[in-house]
Amino acid sequence: MAVIHDVIPAFELFQPTSVDDALALQERHGAKAWVLAGGLDSFDWFKDRIKRPEVVIDLSQVKELRGVRTTGDGLEIGAMTTLTEVVRHPTIREKYGILPNAAEAAASPQIRNQGTIGGNVSQDARCWYYRGGWPCYRAGGNICYADTPTGLNREHAILDANRCVAVNPSDTAPALIALDAKFVVRTPKGERVVDAENYFIGPGIDITRMTILKPGDLLTAIRIPSTWAGSQFYFEKVRDRAAWDFALVNVAAAIKTSGAGNNVDQIRIAVNGVAAHPVRLTAVEAAVTGKPRNEETAEMAGQIAVRGAEPLQYNGYKVPLLRNLVKRAIRGTAAQA
């Protein structure tokens, strides 16, 4: 088990002031380098002495990675923009209200002041076997301690498990998927822009990573198109402690409706906390499009959302939880559930 120490093992610290410098440092040090954003995930690893990087590249001095910029088609949020800045930004609040809702729910005010949106979407799994330093699949070993007859897996995956059953803990990730955001990644070969849902990868693809980022890659910005500006949004997060905790399950939806029947014209809906990656519910989207936003449609959507769910010993509750959250998102009224 991990032992909490007061002193972080020594590493060489670099504080580049430009993206190019950061990339050059990453290229020079390769897999030995650890990229530090807000530090809320990183310092846990360091203080537990489970991750012992030789080199830490602190992005806090890279000004071009901070701030929210208006573009021809929406907004661009620098990866080092804090969650507080996202929550307080007037345009984001006005047009993309689901994102500040998710960012606000992500953490306590102190953590939001330090935590960044890039770090929030790129953070590692919170499975305690993994975080405890056990040699599980995700740590490069050959076993998942959570998915055993005696494993404690109340918070673990019910969908898309593939050997590892850890879940993605990000709250902003499903909101960004619902907004059809694009993630801008700088790699040694140039710039890549990927859809939000394609930024995340499951254990079937690579069991040791949660995102497409490889050593040498850097998430620089998140672009939100204007497509969903001003739509009807829904975000809800269920957690053990209301003050602050990781999501047991969260749901984010952006919906465009029309007509007196409040018919769903377009919808994007995603959930997190149920798989190793945020899950966009495309089957639900297809099923509810063209249908009125009412109880019957919501019930159907909830049933579709949990198809294929395989609960473990202690997380069976996540199936009705996911079903009901999706139902509420489609119906649009949490209080009536």
């Binding site: 040699p135 490069g140 050959n142 076993i143 498990a161 079937g204 693809i205």
Partner: protein
């Protein structure tokens, strides 16, 4: 360089977890190095082996050998094809992700492993019941002839080695190595399926201790990377011009009478009378194949 990856188990025990993936490259490079050295050796130093003129079989006896000498029956050929396809699927699903081609490989890997396992079980029964079981195992004459060849290759005097029986010694040795590596991979792979979700049985990663599991993963990995070299060499041999008649016989089931007489000893590989008149030397010791 660590050839095995180790980890500390939750109980503080140092346990193996995997082979080092450096071995994948070592295996691949070894396979390529072998074929380069072999190609150079054959083209520069090696002398032609036997000729049809030295077959030792009289013209009349040779004429009684069928034009198409049956070598692999349909059952053996189908097994070989299925085994080859499943082996390639196993290698691609295992190692492409290690070289950067990312895809959900686990399910495809164990499905290919199941196909390979079933085909190998079938092959074992077929070899016992429907084939000449001992024809693929090295015998005393093979060892003696190998010694003779080695001495002659080194310039020493030695009696001329006999022609091969149904299979050359290198075929037999290759089969032996593939059998050992294959059974290692299959045996460990079937147990490893207890660690992933399949429709066959519930997961139970605690079936063995961490140490036993670790060595199982190491053995599976060693067999797997070994197959990279083995398959490379096999494919290379299959496409060499002087070996094409063997490759064709694995596709069509037969080889020509000329190739049979040129490369094989009718006394060691007796061709039975599938045809109306087949030579059956009196001194034959082998069972019909």
């Amino acid at each position: 360089m660590n050839l095995i990856q180790w980890a500390t188990s939750p109980w503080g025990q140092q346990v193996p977890t995997h082979i080092s993936w450096t071995l994948l490259w070592i295996s691949a490079i070894s396979g390529l190095a072998f074929l380069i050295v072999h190609a150079l050796y054959v083209s520069i130093w090696a002398k032609p082996a036997h000729s049809a003129a030295s077959s030792g079989v009289s013209g009349a006896a040779a004429a009684r050998i069928p034009e198409r000498v049956p070598r692999h029956n349909l059952s053996a050929r189908l097994f070989h094809a299925i085994m080859a396809l499943s082996m390639l699927a196993l290698l691609f699903t295992a190692f492409l992700p290690k070289v950067g081609v990312e895809f959900p490989w686990v399910t495809w890997h164990w499905i290919a492993g199941i196909v390979l396992s079933i085909s190998v079980v079938y092959h074992i029964f077929d070899a016992f019941l429907g084939q000449d079981f001992w024809s693929i195992w090295p015998d005393k004459e093979d060892i003696e002839d190998a010694g003779r060849r080695m001495k002659r290759a080194l310039g020493q005097t030695a009696p001329e080695p006999r022609k091969f029986a149904k299979y050359p010694l290198e075929n037999k040795l290759y089969h032996l190595v593939v059998m050992l590596a294959g059974l290692s991979a299959i045996g460990t792979g079937l147990f490893m399926m207890k660690r992933v979700r399949t429709p066959f049985f519930p997961r139970n990663p605690y079936l063995f201790s961490d140490m036993t599991w670790g060595w199982m993963y190491v053995l599976h990995g060693l067999a797997g990377v070994g197959f990279v070299a083995l398959v490379t060499v096999h494919i290379y041999m299959a496409v060499r011009p002087e070996k094409l008649f063997i490759t064709k016989s694995m596709i069509f089931g037969w080889m020509s009478r000329e190739k049979y007489l040129e490369h094989h000893d009718p006394n060691r590989w007796v061709v039975t009378d599938h045809a109306p008149a087949t030579a059956r030397p009196a001194e034959s010791k082998k069972a019909p194949s």
